[in-house]
Symmetry: C2
Subunit: 237 residues, 2 copies
């Protein structure tokens, strides 16, 4: 057996160890077995495009392992990153459930394992398994919430430093009260700019300013928060 992307492909959902409680596929046994029967497992290299905005929905991708960049692009080619999907999320569920075209482009940021489920199979699955359907609704709710979060960030903040500060705090939110929280993230300035809706140069400048003022340092792919309170003051909280 080869492992082309540096990890073994888990073929059987029922015995899968990647799953945790927050995963969509954290389901009762019956539903999980049903899900296992309709899904197609596959591994993808970094940079693979799962679907493109405007395509009509083929189905959902359950993300088991890896990160996926969800983005949208304007007519002029400007790109906005909506979020970086984490393991446990279901990609393309809005479009699949509502039957409208994918409104987002999904692209793997690193080697990933994904389970694909065809649209018809997925809808039937939801209809037959109430608990899975409720779970789906919960995941959609979370998506909405993160979308509203981003709307707040884009619409209510006046300055780029403020938005960047908010993003840094968001990234370090899970590191509970360490003195100097560190986070690993493999994003270029360009990509950060696309998340907070500003230009690459501005991100570089603001980060340089943060570094100079000993607020936060981004070195390589490691982000270190030196002075959280300054960031919190910037976001006005």
């Amino acid at each position: 057996m080869g492992s082309p992307y540096g990890f073994e492909l888990v073929e059987n959902c029922v015995i899968c160890k990647l799953r945790s409680d927050s995963f969509f596929c954290s389901l009762p046994k019956a539903a999980l077995e049903a899900f296992d029967r309709i899904k197609y497992s596959a591994a993808y290299p970094a940079g693979a495009v799962l679907f493109v905005e405007g395509q009509s929905p083929r189905g959902i991708y359950m993300l088991c392992k890896g990160r996926v960049k969800m983005s949208t692009t304007s007519a002029e080619g400007k790109t906005l990153i909506l979020k970086i999907a984490q393991p446990g999320e279901v990609l393309g569920m809005h479009a699949t459930v509502s039957g409208t075209p994918y409104e987002i482009t999904a692209e793997t940021g690193q080697p990933c394992q994904l389970n694909f489920v065809k649209r018809d199979d997925f809808l039937k699955f939801l209809q037959q398994h109430g608990d899975a359907c409720l779970k789906a609704a919960q995941h959609l709710s979370k998506d909405c919430q993160s979308a509203y979060q981003q709307i707040r960030s884009l619409g209510l903040s006046h300055s780029a430093p403020e938005r960047l500060a908010r993003l840094l705090l968001e990234w370090t939110a899970s590191t509970h009260d360490q003195a100097e929280p560190k986070v690993k993230l493999a994003l270029t300035h360009e990509e950060i700019a696309q998340i907070i809706g500003t230009s690459r140069e501005t991100v570089t400048r603001v980060l340089a300013d943060f570094r100079k003022r000993q607020v936060a340092v981004l070195k390589g792919s490691t982000l270190t928060i030196r002075n959280k309170s300054v960031l919190e003051k910037l976001v006005g909280a």
Copy 2:
């Protein structure tokens, strides 16, 4: 029987005539009867606040009649309007389904009829009625989509005229190809500004410019599009 807000309160969902296909409550008979048993009907005056962001979710409000303004406010008091909910929509579903606090404030913009359902009742209802649960998922999907729409508008457009043009086109999207589409809307410049994330003065100026160039005229609460193609060129489509 009084009709305090200018219309009769429909008490029985099963025989309700307000409903159309796109309504959440467009459900099979069994589910509809179950819904009817757990809901509380009520009429609200204009300006009533249904829930405020940060509150823990009491339940959902099914909007039967009227418009409701969904908004969020920053720490500095700046307000952003996320959308104007139309009849048929369910308000507060994200929070109710996921159990997290309402992330939005809902305020009636005119006299409304609403059906309230307590959280526990609603969740049980979704569990027992697969078709209703699927419908709920579809409505959540639509919410997500409109949220992503707004993110695009805020994040990908460089200028206020562009965002306003996009909004006007959105409003007139349903009027199919009339020569000079007209829409009724009761929004102040201030509120329009809060939708597209700009200042009131800018809205006034851009509208004045549109009027001068014979592109669109907002007189009283009637919006008339004089030259759709100019607007379309502005949004870059």
